[in-house]
Symmetry: C2
Subunit: 161 residues, 2 copies
């Protein structure tokens, strides 16, 4: 038995009550090494590059199992397919590029977030708040020299408050 520090991934799976299989280890590996919040298809591609061939269905199954076990977090920006990240358990948000859909992490810079504790919840039992920032990624900023135009469906531009 190799030392525990060699590869903690199998143990992570077992602790989560999941069986250790090649697809699962590969998905975990891909997500651990991707700050990019890949889509399921990107994950499938990366996984196949590591262990040969895996069905798309398996990837969906693995991701769902991981999400249910709390190993990964699924984010679904409007107009974009679901994306995944293995960074869980901390308070961070996401910023999504309007043009290309690229997604990055944004640290929650404040200790308290008054806006996230609404007084009027319409009778709902709130258990979670989710913040998504929208804008242009560095690449698309340079590319889109013309007017941003598509201001149409903006909930409320920053600065309007």
């Amino acid at each position: 038995m190799p030392t525990a520090s060699a590869d903690p991934r199998p143990e992570r799976l077992r602790v989560a009550g999941l069986r250790v299989t090649a697809p699962r280890l590969a998905v975990l590996d891909v997500l651990d090494g991707s700050p990019e919040h890949p889509t399921s298809e990107q994950i499938a591609t990366a996984v196949r590059a590591r262990i040969g061939s895996v069905s798309t269905q398996a990837v969906y199954g693995v991701l769902d199992a991981f999400a249910a076990a709390g190993l990964v977090r699924r984010i679904e920006p409007a107009g974009s397919p679901a994306r995944y990240e293995s960074r869980v358990g901390d308070n961070h948000h996401h910023i999504v590029c309007r043009t290309c859909g690229a997604t990055a992490d944004v640290a929650c810079v404040v200790g308290a977030a008054p806006c996230l504790d609404p007084s009027d919840a319409a009778g709902f039992a709130i258990d979670q708040a989710e913040i998504t920032f929208w804008g242009l990624c560095p690449t698309c900023r340079g590319r889109t020299t013309a007017a941003p135009s598509g201001q149409g469906d903006a909930p409320w531009p920053i600065g309007d408050r």
Copy 2:
């Protein structure tokens, strides 16, 4: 509605640079009278109840045109089809029921939102912040007496910070 000057909807359309048609008036009417954030299909059904028959495509077209003109706002909660609301121009957020997808408005109770001005934006040009609360609506609260269980993909439960 035979009332003379009572209906401001045609004018709202003209001001937005849109032609006045029955489907558009009906969609506007439906949204004005729905605090429920209906989906496009629900809107189509309600519209047909008023003016007979309208193609699904027309509804999509109308909603897109309205969104582009700023007459309505489109929200796309994860795992739910797009929803629309005619309440625009103010700063409010949404709370979505995890079980049934019901959506309600949540007032932004604070004047300033520190969390919405991230210091580290990863080079993105942020133009908008979007907040979605997740929880259980009053109806589903009563129905789901058992354990909430599905805590898996929770970004960060309120109170954990």
